[in-house]
């Protein structure tokens, strides 16, 4: 029997996230439960990295858990937010790339090569002095390198490989060994997880390994790349998980101020992060506050399932 990698969020974050780490934090499947645990454990000096880092990460900067971002889009920044303020004050350093840039950097990291060429960024101000040496950054000349193809002479831009120390991600399901299955469009997740030195995945369901192995095309990461599997129903709330629940628009609306107003943010953290020990307490609190009906309203239904049979059949006993 392979070893179970099932653990609580508290154990997983405690064991695998270290102060100063570069952390990938998901794209479409956003690990709110794991993020809140990082805040509870008061991790420090993290760098978040991802094509577009989720607005959830704003909580990591505001609480001082993370002070750097490498990304194509810093979620939660729309003029006059707390995140914008931190950037102005230099308390959140940032390096601007693009979604393709980060995906390619993770791909290089996953492939174990030191850099990768792209045709994006050509003709933009990203390649100018004002971007490379901007006061909020730290990579300087290790950020981009305009170059030429050694074979054809075409202009390209070289991007450095990026290997996160640890990734946190939400997904639909996994087995206890850590084979992870996810569906829907995957953003940059697959390459970030492959590039990452350690991976923590929170899932809606733990299923027997036979279930995973009966449909292996749906697996996005095999168990040897996964360090911890955390069983957290509603682990992405208020963001969606395809097939399980939709975006909680009402919750987002009532918590919209948390990225703009320090008091609203502190009271959100007291109530929804420090006020609960884990995601199941968070959901209990949600039901107490908004009623079971609110939870039912975001539940994805009716089911939408593939039509037709997927078979992996072959001829086991070849007749010669």
């Amino acid at each position: 029997m392979p070893k179970s990698k099932l653990m609580t969020a508290k154990e997983a974050i405690g064991k695998f996230v270290t102060d100063g780490d570069i952390v990938y934090t998901g794209y479409n499947l956003i690990p709110h439960a794991l993020c809140h645990e990082i805040i509870r454990q008061k991790k420090k000096n993290l760098t978040v990295a991802g094509a577009s880092v989720p607005e959830m990460d704003a909580l990591l900067y505001i609480t001082g858990c993370a002070n750097r971002a490498i990304t194509g889009y810093i979620g939660g920044v729309v003029g006059g937010t707390l995140v914008g303020e931190l950037m102005d004050k230099g308390e959140l350093q940032f390096e601007d790339y693009s979604n393709q840039g980060l995906t390619m950097m993770f791909l290089a990291g996953a492939l174990g090569i030191p850099f990768i060429p792209t045709r994006a960024f050509l003709g933009t101000d990203f390649l100018t002095e004002k971007c490379i040496n901007h006061p909020g950054g730290w990579l300087r000349d290790k950020k981009y390198q305009p170059s030429e193809c050694p074979f054809s002479g075409e202009k390209v831009v070289l991007l450095p490989a990026l290997n996160p120390d640890v990734s946190i991600m939400a997904a639909q399901r996994a087995d206890e060994e850590g084979n992870v299955q996810a569906w829907g469009a995957l953003g940059d997740a697959k390459w970030a997880l492959w590039a990452s030195k350690k991976n923590i995945v929170s899932v809606e369901e733990i299923v027997p390994t036979e279930v995973i192995r009966s449909d292996p095309n749906r697996t996005i990461l095999p168990s040897f790349k996964v360090n911890a599997v955390v069983h957290e129903p509603f682990g992405a709330h208020p963001w969606p998980v395809t097939g399980y629940y939709d975006m909680d628009f009402i919750f987002r609306e009532v918590t919209l101020d948390i990225y703009k107003n320090r008091e609203a943010c502190d009271s959100f953290l007291d109530e929804w992060v420090f006020g609960v020990k884990n995601r199941s307490e968070y959901i209990e609190h949600y039901v107490e506050k908004f009623g079971y009906r609110a939870l039912r309203n975001i539940t994805a239904q009716p089911p939408i399932q593939p039509v037709g049979t997927i078979s992996y059949a072959y001829v086991p006993h070849i007749q010669i």
């Binding site: 577009s52 194509g72 995906t103 994006a120 003709g123 971007c131 953003g187 697959k190 939709d246």
Partner: protein
């Protein structure tokens, strides 16, 4: 034209959305960006472009919208879950921004932005100096590579003097860069003809693909009740006006009803949004 049943009641966001949807062409591979492009692409596919294929950068390939009754909403953003039902393929960002876009398969990228200049260069990152911005935005997402690599760009922007500037404060997404041949000099392929839908009308460029003409933005058509003078006033340089400037055809009743069924909670098309 005359027998069309035009709507009497529509707002500016709806008008822009329909103008944008009509700028798309059938049979093309269309890459949708955040915001208004999501619903404009949906409407275009449903009403006029049965053979166009819709893509979003997160990994959605050839999405076919369902009946609004069943679907509930047009996608609110490029990764919204309605896009996962009825697509021909779901992959990831490397498939989309790599094989699809950089591989040269995107005909039209449909983009937003914060600022645009007379050569159609877009800025989506900040207003003011990059080091000390007056307004900092989240970043470019996939806007940069889409502008670098798509064969055509349709942009949607609010028409204001601080947004329509002679030169963008930070060039995140190349149009014709500094005029004819600008793209080629920077190692990019030709692009065009590009289109811009603003809050005042439809603008094009004096070029086919960035090699000929002046490559400058030209006012092609105004929205109903918008004067050419207003457009000039709201533009931060001496805007060129087409000698045959037209009025944009208003939305039909059918178009407006579909829009409202696709956006019942007015996430995209609220009155006063633009």
């Amino acid at each position: 034209m005359t027998d069309k049943n035009y709507a009497d009641d529509y707002n500016l966001a709806e008008l822009m959305c329909i103008a944008a949807a009509r700028a798309l062409r059938d049979g093309e591979n269309i890459f949708l960006g955040l915001g208004l492009p999501c619903i404009a692409g949906t409407v275009a596919k449903m009403l006029y472009l049965p053979n166009a294929q819709i893509f979003t950068e997160v990994g959605v390939f050839d999405w076919v919208p369902r009946d609004p009754e069943l679907m509930g909403r047009a996608p609110l953003h490029i990764a919204d879950m309605p896009l996962y039902v009825g697509s021909a393929m779901l992959g990831d960002m490397l498939d989309q921004l790599g094989s699809m876009l950089m591989g040269g398969h995107v005909d039209t990228a449909f983009l937003g932005g914060a600022q645009i200049d007379k050569f159609g260069n877009i800025n989506t990152i900040c207003l003011g100096d990059y080091h000390h911005p007056t307004r900092r935005l989240g970043g470019v997402g996939g806007n940069t590579e889409a502008a670098c690599l798509a064969k055509k760009v349709i942009a949607i922007l609010p028409h204001e003097k601080r947004r329509f500037v002679e030169r963008v404060d930070f060039l995140t997404s190349p149009g014709y860069i500094d005029g004819p041949g600008g793209r080629r000099r920077h190692g990019l392929k030709p692009q065009g003809p590009n289109v811009l839908i603003s809050t005042l009308g439809v603008l094009r460029y004096d070029t086919q693909d960035g090699e000929d003409g002046t490559c400058e933005m030209v006012l092609d058509a105004t929205f109903p009740n918008v004067s050419i003078d207003t457009v000039k006033e709201m533009t931060g340089w001496d805007l060129k006006i087409s000698p045959e400037v037209k009025e944009v055809e208003p939305p039909t009743l059918e178009e407006v009803i579909l829009l409202r069924n696709l956006d019942p909670l007015t996430f995209h098309l609220a009155e006063g949004r633009y």
